[in-house]
């Protein structure tokens, strides 16, 4: 009996809360990474100042971009109205209805700010817009475009010629590295896919959520997947190469074990501290697949700001999301956190151009692809990379082909 009285009470309480909250105040929540909290707070204040007629109640919460998907998908109705996430999560978030389609009526909310979705598309670099687009529709606002990897190296160890190919890089590290190694994460489908993308292989996603993958065949460039894996095995087995677990990179950089490392802008400060005056960055090296020299590709992407499909005040959420990702905000974000902008004007800022890491990312971006994959992709490719890192795949053609077939079978399996 007690249960039901308390249920009634609770229900009344919830009703009362809704009743008071909806009276003209516009309640919104925003989620961003821990280190962006101050930046977001500052921009939210600026936003409020822009619309003095409205009463906002904007709450800022912590959720890193890399884990946003996990929290949002568990219960989208409880997630923030506006949240930041990494572009590779877009597909799953859209499928769960956790992002609104900006190319629909929702986009018109921007009229309030005398803007339109087309402005957004024009102001940001096309690749960042591609990363926020699914099936031809824009689902989020790009807020940065620096979520890619390239090569950091210590210029006191390597010359500019050394870093052009993996062979010369590893040879130089063996020779002059004094025990310091060349590090890269292999046990992650985000990093190891770069070798395949560089050789012209692709991944994709069908409407039913099944990932497509052609890595066990021959690419349009005439390279076989077997050759790519054999090249990777050769790199991984080099004494100067160190395969690093995904979460361990910044730690390895900081501990001074590395003289070159494949990572991204988020590690720039750590690398700078570790390499000191030798700090340098460039695009990824090339590798030899059979007798072809291939530029290692990479996955490009950025952080996006989306509006929750279950947001009540979606209109204002769209306006706020647009504001948090506009030119001014992105420029400010670069100033406070050295986040590389996706906004074309903000990119033109000379300080951005001088940033070594962002410059190297720009060089690499010609070989970067937007990665579209489904849920089955990650564990399978992670395991595949780890097998290469530990050398558990024999390098003869038949074994490699068998391993690749098993990988493709797993990645392209139906979602049960």
């Amino acid at each position: 009996m007690k249960k039901w009285t308390s249920l009634l009470l609770a229900a009344l309480l919830v009703l009362a809360m809704f009743a008071t909250a909806s009276a003209d105040t516009i309640a919104l929540t925003v989620w961003g990474a821990e280190l962006d909290q101050n930046f977001i707070a500052e921009r939210v204040e600026a936003f409020k100042a822009l619309y003095p007629d409205q009463t906002f109640e904007i709450q800022i919460g912590v959720e890193s971009e890399s884990t946003a998907k996990d929290t949002v998908l568990t219960d989208p109705t409880a997630a923030a109205d506006v949240y930041n996430f990494a572009s590779d999560q877009l597909t799953q978030l859209v499928e769960a209805g956790a992002l609104i389609n900006l190319d629909s009526d929702y986009g018109q909310a921007l009229q309030l700010a005398n803007r339109s979705i087309d402005d957004v598309k024009a102001e940001n670099v096309p690749a960042s817009i591609d990363g926020a687009t699914k099936d031809g529709k824009l689902y989020a606002f790009p807020n940065s475009f620096d979520n890619g990897y390239f090569l950091f190296y210590d210029s006191t160890v390597f010359s500019e010629d050394d870093v052009k190919s993996w062979d010369s890089l590893l040879a130089a590290a063996n020779e002059k590295g004094a025990g310091r190694k060349v590090g890269m994460t292999l046990a992650s489908g985000w990093y190891n896919a770069g070798f395949f993308y560089g050789a012209g292989f692709t991944t994709g996603l069908n409407d039913d959520g099944i990932t497509t993958m052609d890595w066990n065949g021959t690419s349009p460039d005439g390279v076989t997947g077997v050759q790519v894996v054999q090249a990777m095995l050769k790199i991984a087995s080099d004494p100067a190469f160190m395969a690093i677990a995904d979460g361990d990179i910044s730690n390895q950089i900081a501990s001074g074990n590395l003289c070159a490392v494949v990572s991204g802008t988020w590690d720039a400060t750590a690398v700078q501290t570790a390499f000191g005056d030798g700090y340098a960055a460039t695009k990824l090296p090339t590798y030899m697949a059979g007798d072809k020299e291939i530029q290692t590709g990479s996955v490009g992407g950025g952080k996006l700001t989306g509006v929750n499909g279950f947001s009540k005040n979606a209109g204002w959420a769209v306006v706020l999301a647009d504001f948090l990702t506009n030119e001014e905000s992105q420029a400010r974000h670069f100033e406070t956190n050295e986040i590389g902008p996706s906004n074309i004007v903000a990119q033109g800022n000379p300080a951005v151009g001088e940033n070594l890491a962002i410059k190297a990312l720009g060089e690499q971006s010609a070989y970067a692809v937007i990665q579209t994959v489904g849920g089955k992709y990650w564990d399978a490719t992670g395991s595949f990379g780890e097998q290469i890192a530990q050398g558990t795949i024999a390098s003869d053609d038949a074994s490699v082909q068998a391993a690749l077939d098993a990988l493709v079978e797993g990645v392209t399996a139906a979602i049960e």
Partner: protein, 289 residues
């Protein structure tokens, strides 16, 4: 056991004592290595993980000081108070529930007793993490997610299921005592309050410690229920766990260690004070459990 060594002790015996204690010392040392590393690292001046040397290259207590200076990532004092509140509340509720169920199951003579006990055994065989999502939605229905009340309920509402050890202890309480009281006209409630509870100090202490500890240790449920991203709402476990996020670990690992040490101190003290009761409590229950 006295600490004076008898003067006439033979040399052989003395060596055996020395060897015996040396063995214990070696074992204790092995057991404490990670703890020593935790304490040392927490006094490091360096922010990230030290992988090359056991002892920090530069000592400093600055992270303890900074732990109490709140920033956007670290709100340790708030987390500590949150956890403390939740731990106290859930401790009271769980202890009451456990004692109530244990008493009913040990002293009660009702028909449903056996079936209920069998159901409890079955329920304990299901993995708890499985039911998380259902618990989450139940709490959400009552508007209790992102609230400390909700979290308290998660830790304490099902506490009654853990009655078995306590029941075992109650089984050892002499029945003659209760019979005598019953003849004197005591109600069941008074027997429970005035006879059984006072003789059960060890098991009560055991129950209190166990239920007090749960909120300090759990991060899985807490993370799921405190999902609004308001870090001022976190418990210590969730807050510290987040410091190990890829993007933060290099700046916050030492904070994590310092926080871990600060959490462990009161718990160790609790264990030290309660050691005797704790031992008696577990075994009193286990003997007959």
């Amino acid at each position: 056991m006295t600490q004076t060594i008898k003067p006439r002790m033979s040399a052989k015996k003395r060596t055996s004592i020395v060897l015996h204690n040396a063995l214990i010392a070696v074992l204790a040392f092995i057991w404490l290595i990670p703890i020593i590393w935790l304490v040392c690292t927490s006094f490091s001046a360096y922010d990230g993980i030290n992988t090359s040397t056991f002892f920090p290259t530069q000592w400093s207590a600055s992270h303890y000081v900074e732990l109490f200076q709140v920033d956007t990532v670290n709100q340790f004092p708030t987390w500590f108070m949150n956890t403390f509140k939740i731990a106290c509340a859930s401790c009271v509720i769980s202890t009451c529930f456990v004692l109530m169920v244990a008493y009913a199951m040990s002293f009660g003579k009702f028909k449903a007793r056996k079936p209920l006990m069998n159901v409890a055994v079955m329920l304990n065989l299901f993995p708890g993490v499985l039911s998380m999502i259902a618990v989450y939605f139940t709490l959400r229905t009552f508007g209790l997610t992102n609230s400390h009340l909700g979290l308290t309920l998660v830790y304490s509402a099902s506490a009654g299921l853990g009655y078995l050890i306590c029941k075992g202890f109650f089984d050892t309480v002499p029945r003659a005592l209760c019979e005598a009281a019953r003849i004197d006209g005591c109600s069941e409630a008074r027997i429970f309050w005035q006879i059984v509870i006072p003789t059960s100090r060890p098991i009560i202490v055991y129950t209190i410690i166990n239920s007090f500890l749960a909120p300090w240790m759990d991060f899985v449920f807490a993370k799921m229920i405190l999902n609004a991203g308001i870090s001022a709402n976190y418990t210590v476990a969730v807050g510290l766990y987040r410091m190990l996020d890829k993007s933060l670990i290099n700046q916050y690992f030492t904070f994590f260690c310092a926080g871990g040490v600060l959490v462990s101190i009161p718990i160790s003290a609790l264990f030290f004070i309660m050691q005797k009761f704790y031992v008696e409590g577990i075994t009193g229950g286990a003997v007959k459990g």
